[in-house]
Amino acid sequence: MKLDNKIAIDANDIHYTQLNKLIRKAVAEKATDIVIKNVLGQRFIASGLRAEINIDIYGVPGGDLGMFMNGPICNIYGNCEHAPGNTMDYGKIIVHGSTGDASAHSMRGGEMYVRDRIGYRGGIHMKEYDQKKPTLVVGKSADDFLGEYMAGGLILLLGIGQEAPFYGRGIGSGIHGGRIVIRGEIEDKYLGLGVKRLDMDTSLLNEVQSRIKEYCNYFNLDATKLLDENYTVLGPASSRPFAGKYTWE
């Protein structure tokens, strides 16, 4: 079923290991595009995959989509289970739907765009280093503990078509790096421990604007309205949250 450089895979009734073998085989065959149809709960899709490749996924992938992934751009036409982008290194995950808990968990680089909603603990312990700066953009809403333990990167929550609160409690609990940017005003009761309100600076504003445009571009939405809005910027009160907790023996 090889069409030029596009390889199609039918995931119907096959195990995730078999599916990943087919993906790796397609990469070895120098595919530039892989289209996977009939995905139904297969976990670990594109896990540990190192390739500059476009992967279109139709159906509902199981947990840990793109775990440790380095390079691919995954378009998911459906919802994802928990922890897509877990410890992802580089690449993109674009979800035309919603995702489960711990989305973008410990993500180290790359970008994830979720059209609708994410579950609890989204972007937990995301971290940045040097040139690598992970980004999570969520269109509608997020559950409790968004950006918990966050150590770097950017989380952008747009709340499109949602009345506040479109977020849960404990936002940024234990955050010690990075920024969480949320549309509109947020009451203190939703903020976690160790979070501080910050001003939007020019470079962050530029970044937020370009992420919003990119989000709208993926999901065919008009960015103008979103660009006009006010955003709350949250960051760490300290990069050393535990510095004052201990005494020597």
Binding site: Y16, T17, N20, R24, R43, F44, S47, G48, R50, G63, D64, M67, F68, M69, N70, H82, A83, N86, T87, D89, A102, H105, S106, R108, R121, I124, H125, K127, E128, Y129, D130, K132, E148, Y149, A151, G152, G174, H176, G177, S239, R240, P241, F242, A243, G244, K245, Y246, T247, W248, E249
Partner: protein, 503 residues
């Protein structure tokens, strides 16, 4: 301050007759206990940590050290330590941090177990002239083998054998991260394990490029902070270890303080310079044994099922049931870390009070896995307070496949167990990142000393086995008949499944 000062912890004395005022002690003490005032050697005992660096470097043996030189009113309950902790916490209102392993006076079970030897009715074996097999394979073993005879009369094994690590001796070096210890210490260990044919753990600190040449002898760790973890890291390791908990501080995470995050550590861990490296207590994607299975499979899937995956847990009350769950998760080995396991820093209340001894944990895990018929599914690696080859022989006889040593390897590089690792001033160049201190640890000598220790213990193990008429480490594994307990209570005998002496 109304509390005043507490008495000196240590008292350093200089034998002025012996001292030749070479001032080597001044140069060597990173804690500032000595100073040179116009040729006069001045001592500030309050700064001493009993690290013994000055004593070991003094050319005239002129330095002596006394522990707790000032008596309190003797009291069996209100020990000086109990009193001083209260004074400290009433001053600061903070959690007391301590280094190294459990420092409470719990009796050692190892020291209440004795090994067997052959007399008359079965011959002992002389390891000098007969082969002794200490080679150990860590990983899943098939419950049965299936064979097929090929056309040319050969026998072919039909089973698909899971990847195993092959150790030349059942002694590995446990996970001590670059950050917790210096790069020179980690490089010494790496050279040593490559030399003797065994393995070391990276800890949760990433894999520094100077360890790459030894990557075939390293086990890379994935812990809750996921520091330094990417696909290259996973593929470089000979095996991958998921750290759930550690014996020195079960149930809590770790914090590498920002001042230790230098540029090289920042790059190895892939975190910003000077930021705290926080490993939270749980993995954010593990909230059940099923979630653990998911991470085990996730790591295997990412590395195309080519790497054994270990799961390390602290020895806690229900460790046997937990290990049985791990054994069903596709993991290849369970690492059990007893309550005497070392650490760079842990809250003292955890270090001294949480967890159970490794001896009981090994025996109960081995028993549970045997009862459930899945002992072959998983190897058991024991760690936490292994001090000598006898502890290793006893661990294996209680059911372990291999052991991790940690503190012992550090002692082989100079450590004197002063327990101030968390201060980052280790004068032996081990638990520090200060360049002048790190330079004190010569990598080649460090490697040779660690390799010597492993070789010496391996010799002793083969002698102990030979004396017991055993010529293969596999025949010692779980062989409780070779152990007897001296003055242990009946409850403990039942847990260990060991008979008392004389029985």
């Amino acid at each position: 301050m109304s509390l005043g000062s507490v008495p000196l912890r240590y008292k350093v004395d200089i034998d002025r007759e012996q001292c030749m005022r070479c001032m080597r002690c001044v140069d060597n003490c990173s804690y500032g206990a000595f100073r040179n005032e116009e040729g006069k050697l001045i001592v500030n005992s309050r700064k001493c940590t009993a690290c013994h660096r000055c004593i070991s470097m003094c050319p005239r043996d002129a330095i002596s050290l006394k522990d707790r030189p000032v008596d309190y009113r003797a009291h069996p309950l209100w020990t000086s330590e109990a009193r001083e902790d209260i004074i400290n916490q009433s001053r600061t209102g903070k959690i007391v941090l301590a280094g190294m392993g459990n420092a409470k006076d719990f009796p050692s079970i190892f020291d209440r177990l004795v090994l067997d030897a052959c007399q008359v009715t079965n011959p002992s074996i002389d390891p000098l002239r007969e082969p002794m097999e200490l080679k150990t394979h860590i990983g899943k073993k098939p419950s049965r083998l299936e064979f097929e005879e090929t056309v040319d009369g050969d026998i072919k094994v039909l089973n698909e054998i899971a990847p195993n690590l092959e150790l030349q001796t059942p002694i590995m070096i446990g996970h001590m991260s670059y950050g917790a210890i210096s790069l020179n210490a980690q490089r010494s260990i790496a050279q040593a394990v490559a030399k003797v044919g065994t393995f070391m753990g990276t800890g949760e600190g990433g894999l520094h490029e100077s360890i790459y040449p030894y990557q075939d002898n390293t086990i890379v760790q994935v812990a809750s902070g996921r520091f330094g973890v990417d696909i290259n890291y996973l593929e470089r390791g000979a095996a991958i270890e998921i750290k759930i908990g550690q014996g020195a501080k079960p149930g809590i995470g770790g914090h590498l303080p920002g001042e230790k995050v230098c540029s090289d550590i920042s790059c190895t861990r892939m975190i910003p310079y000077g930021s705290d490296a926080i490993s939270p207590a749980p993995h954010h994607d593990i909230y059940s044994i099923e979630d653990l299975a998911q991470l085990v499979r996730g790591l295997k899937e990412a590395t195309e099922w080519k790497k054994p995956v270990f799961v390390k847990v602290a020895a806690v009350h229900n460790v046997a049931a937990i290990a049985a769950g791990i054994a069903r998760s596709k993991a290849d080995a369970v690492v059990i870390d007893g309550f005497r396991g070392g650490t760079g820093a842990a809250p003292k209340v955890f270090r001294d009070n949480v967890g159970i001894p490794i001896e009981a944990a090994i025996a109960s895990v081995d028993k549970k896995l045997n009862e459930q018929g899945i002992r072959n599914e998983i190897s058991i690696i024991a760690s936490g307070g292994i001090r000598n080859s006898a502890d290793i022989a006893k661990s294996i006889a209680l059911g372990a496949d291999a052991v991790y040593i940690g503190t012992a390897a550090l002692i082989a590089m100079g450590c004197r167990v002063c327990g101030n690792c968390y201060r980052g001033l280790c004068p032996w160049g081990i638990a520090t990142q200060r360049e002048d201190l790190v330079d004190r640890l010569d990598i080649d000598s460090g490697a040779q000393q660690v390799a010597n220790l492993i070789n010496a213990w391996t010799y002793e193990l083969s002698e102990l086995m030979g004396a017991a008429g055993i010529n293969s480490i596999e025949s010692l594994r779980g062989n409780r008949e070779r152990l007897r307990a001296y003055m242990l209570d009946e409850g403990m005998l039942n847990v260990l499944q060991v008979k008392p002496v004389g029985a």
